[in-house]
């Protein structure tokens, strides 16, 4: 739910795939969209949406990225940059 996904191919290049999949590719053609957000936009519950996304992942149509949460793996500079970004947001 908290991973983000992103289109690995442009929706226009994948005309032969089901329409529902094309919709997903369009929704995730940005800097990444959370699975929770995608599910809400598709008006699906989380689990069925995740199952659907797994199929696209398997086909290499999307890529996914888990959230950054391990403080040890995160340097303090990154935390500071989030903070200053937030201050300007």
């Amino acid at each position: 739910m908290h991973s983000t996904v992103r289109a690995a191919v442009p929706a226009d290049d994948a005309r032969s795939i089901p329409e529902e999949w094309q919709t997903i590719l369009r929704l995730c053609a940005g800097p990444g969209i959370a699975v929770a957000e995608l599910a809400a936009r598709l008006e699906m519950r989380l689990t069925p949406a995740a199952v659907l996304l797994a199929q696209l992942l398997e086909q290499g149509l999307i890529e996914h990225r888990p959230p950054m949460s391990d403080p040890d793996a995160m340097n303090i500079d990154f935390l500071r940059r989030i903070r200053s970004g937030l201050e300007r947001a």
Partner: protein, 202 residues
């Protein structure tokens, strides 16, 4: 598909920003949905999940015929920064769904635990929950009256917070600056904990 490298549209070429997950938790009706909505750059969304009866107390299902599953909703909002995308997850407030918080905790960088100063006694459970987990959090006291009857230290005492370094912020869930201030306090807390000086003896 002759030149796949040069044909990628802007959207696909864009950097894939690292996602960062922040929980907005707290008891029933403390302002979680309001807070997520106020600070989010998108209209806040509700993500639903179906839970099997196994996770829900039997009492909750008594009297519901044929119902072996229930739907629980989380709030979702986001803030896109230049270095990351903050994903805000508002937890369900009803206590019977709290078992789900452990799932929600996974992958989170930190949490904001909202409390309502009019009903501090009803905030113990939420604060307790986070004190017994590893996740760094700040306590944000929602000013329902527009002014606070308490100051942070009184709230700290009333909540019997164990960890003296846990920040307590007063805020108004309806004001964007105010909610952002809470997130900044969380970042400060995370930064302070990550700073080498944190390990110093006093």
């Amino acid at each position: 598909m002759n030149e796949p490298d040069t044909r990628a549209p802007d959207a696909v070429r864009d950097t894939y920003l690292p996602p960062v997950k922040i929980l907005v938790a707290g008891g029933f009706g403390v302002g979680k949905t309001t807070a997520v909505g106020t600070v989010s750059e998108i209209t806040p969304l509700r993500t639903e999940e179906r839970l099997s009866a196994a996770g829900v107390g039997v009492d909750d299902l008594s009297g519901i015929e044929q119902k072996s599953a229930t739907t629980v909703a989380m709030d979702f909002g986001r803030i896109t920064l230049d270095v990351a995308v903050l994903m805000l997850f508002g937890t369900p407030g009803q206590e019977r769904f709290w078992f789900m918080w452990d799932d929600l905790l996974r992958g989170a960088l930190g949490a904001v635990v909202l409390v309502d100063t009019r009903r501090l006694d009803r905030s113990f459970a939420a604060v307790d929950f986070f004190e017994s987990r590893d996740l760094p959090f700040v306590v944000a006291a929602n000013c329902f009256h527009g002014e606070q009857d308490y100051d942070p230290e009184e709230i700290r005492d009333a909540l019997t917070l164990r960890e003296p370094s846990t920040p307590i912020v007063l805020f108004d869930a309806r004001r964007r600056d105010s909610v952002r201030g809470v997130l900044l306090a969380l970042m400060d807390h995370l930064i302070a904990s990550a700073e080498p000086a944190h390990a110093q003896r006093t």
